[in-house]
């Protein structure tokens, strides 16, 4: 009971604090803008802990955050092994291959309006499909190890990046292309100096969408069979053993890895497309 009262008391206090913070002049500073969501996140964790302890929810249904944190601290080697298997070997290698192939194909079909008119609707169509469904097929073809996970990731990231890159290559203005023509620039010079840089905001949009897809693809593919390591393998087996704190530990790692991956790509984007209006503020 005390836990429940404490949790809701904390929630009310934090909310009052956030309302005051949001109305105060602190909001003009960067720290103030970061503080409000941080307080909200901490509140969620405290309420979670309080409710789980207060209502004595069994650990096989919902473990409290402290138990998850303890499990993360205790299982660092296992988590690291799973992270390397799923993220570095599966998701990252697939991401690089898939995105690289998509950009190259986009450049290859760039010179043929015919192919573009044909491939773009097909690509848009495929990008909306439940592509994770091919995971069982690719696991059958490429075996249980990381190769099949990378293959799933390649297929998943390919179409969003392709569609975005083709859209991006069309983004430079007629005036700019005319200027390149008056310089008598060749096709490749125009591509390299004008159209690829102009396409970068679009390409990075696709790359950012693909980061999440890559991690999802690698994890879900492991539900269909994997060696005895990997995040998806650990999640599905620990769920079977009702080791929910370990499942949450893996999910925490996956969430952190996903956000960090996205953040890294966003950081590279800021460096590459520093000239774009959306980056200048």
């Amino acid at each position: 009971m005390i836990w429940l009262v404490f949790a809701f008391g904390f929630w009310a206090a934090a909310w009052a604090l956030n309302v005051r913070l949001a109305a105060s002049s602190l909001m003009r500073s960067r720290a103030g803008r970061l503080a409000v969501p941080a307080i909200f996140g901490i509140t969620l964790l405290v309420v979670w802990e309080g409710v789980v302890r207060g209502l004595a929810v069994p650990g096989v249904i919902l473990p409290p955050p402290t138990a998850i944190a303890a499990r993360i601290a205790a299982e660092v080697p296992t988590l690291w092994l799973d992270f390397v298997q799923t993220f570095v070997k599966g998701a990252l290698s697939g991401y690089i291959m898939g995105c690289g192939a998509a950009v190259l194909v986009a450049i290859a079909i760039d010179r043929s309006p015919f192919l573009q008119r044909g491939l773009l609707p097909v690509g848009n169509f495929v990008a909306a499909l439940p592509i994770v469904g091919i995971a069982p097929i690719l696991v059958m073809w490429f075996g249980f190890d990381w190769h099949s996970k990378a293959a799933v990731v390649v297929v998943m990231v390919f179409f969003p990046v392709l569609v975005n890159t083709v859209a991006g290559l069309a983004a430079s203005e007629v005036m700019q292309r005319d200027l390149m023509a008056t310089y008598s620039a060749s096709y490749w010079q125009t591509l390299w100096k004008l159209r690829l840089p102009a396409a970068m905001p679009f390409i990075f949009n696709g790359l950012k969408i693909a980061t999440t897809l890559a991690l999802i693809g690698a994890i879900v593919a492991e539900f269909f069979g994997s060696p005895i390591r990997g995040m998806g393998f650990r999640i599905s087996t620990e769920v079977g053993r009702l080791g929910l704190d370990m499942v949450w530990a893996e999910i925490t790692v996956a969430a952190l890895a996903g956000s960090a991956f996205y953040g890294l790509v966003a950081l590279i984007e800021r460096g590459v497309t520093f000239w774009h209006p959306s980056q200048r503020h």
Partner: protein
């Protein structure tokens, strides 16, 4: 019409490549069979055999088409072999989850737009959550809800709801904020209340954004329902067909289920697109 010929060409090339890949990937098994029987096999003999294998590595397109047709039309729709039955199991979870997720998402977006503290505290998390592989928690939700006695449609629907929730929140917040300062000022000169501003300006202005995120949301909801069927031990649904197929090496079954899912996704997105066109035209917003 200009687009039809290129699209058909691309599709024809894909089908041709598929046939070539089917021959190439199924040939080793036929060669192996021939070697075991002690006979030599020529390419001309091998070619038709790769098209009709029972459990091919890659089924040829017509095998998938036959599997799909038998699954969709060749069975009574209540049969456990019918793809209509399994498709409906998945689709009902998708639609229920989509309805829950969309309603919750729109409500949260309204709260975010009207409450500054909520905006500042919830919005960063809603955006950050899109970078997280939410699908990873699907098995856990299923098992946990099962252990507290909730099973069947609802756990899958919750995963679908969760996946369609965040795109709707983010899109709807953007939409409700899309009226520019001039329009908001006009309503202020009319002394319009907050509620009137919401119903007469913000909500209509948000419709294009809402429909765009609904399309993303329903595709995500379908993926959620399919993945949600994996850990339940493959009872019913398209995800169950995929898992059974992968357990028993029934590749044709996997591909047929996959195409059913693809058609379902395309139909759902097209349906929302049609509603979008009609709505926006009647609102005078069609371009």
């Amino acid at each position: 019409m200009k687009a039809v010929v290129p699209i058909l060409t691309v599709l024809a090339v894909i089908v041709a490549l598929w046939y070539a890949a089917a021959v190439w990937m199924n040939a080793p098994w036929e060669r192996d069979q021939a070697a075991r029987a002690g006979t030599a096999i020529t390419f001309a003999q091998l070619l038709p055999l790769t098209m009709v294998q029972e459990r091919p590595v890659l089924p040829a397109p017509h095998q998938v088409a036959v599997g799909l047709w038998e699954g969709l039309a060749g069975q009574a729709i209540t049969s456990k072999r019918s793809l209509v039955y399994h498709g409906w199991v998945t689709l009902s979870a998708t639609l229920l989850g989509f309805a829950i997720g969309t309603t919750a998402g729109v409500l949260l977006a309204v709260g975010i737009v009207h409450n500054r503290a909520m905006d500042l505290s919830v919005m960063p998390w809603a955006i950050a959550s899109q970078t997280i592989p939410i699908l990873a928690i699907a098995p856990m939700i299923i098992v946990v809800l099962n252990s507290v006695g909730v099973s069947g449609l609802l756990p899958k629907a919750i995963i679908s709801a969760y996946l369609s929730f965040f795109p709707v929140v983010v899109g709807m917040v953007k939409g409700l904020r899309s009226p520019d300062a001039m329009q908001l000022d006009l309503l202020r000169t009319y002394n319009a209340s907050r509620a009137a501003t919401f119903w007469k300006l913000r909500l209509p202005a948000s419709m294009p954004y809402l429909f765009t995120s609904l399309k993303v949301g329903i595709a995500a909801a379908l993926v959620g329902a399919i993945v949600g069927e994996l850990p339940t031990g493959a009872v019913a649904g398209l995800g169950a067909r995929l898992l059974q197929g992968s357990y028993y090496g029934q590749t044709v079954q996997i591909w047929a289920a996959l195409f059913t899912a693809a058609f379902a996704a395309a139909a759902l997105v097209a349906l929302i697109g049609a509603v979008q066109r009609v709505t926006l035209r009647r609102m005078g917003m069609a371009r």
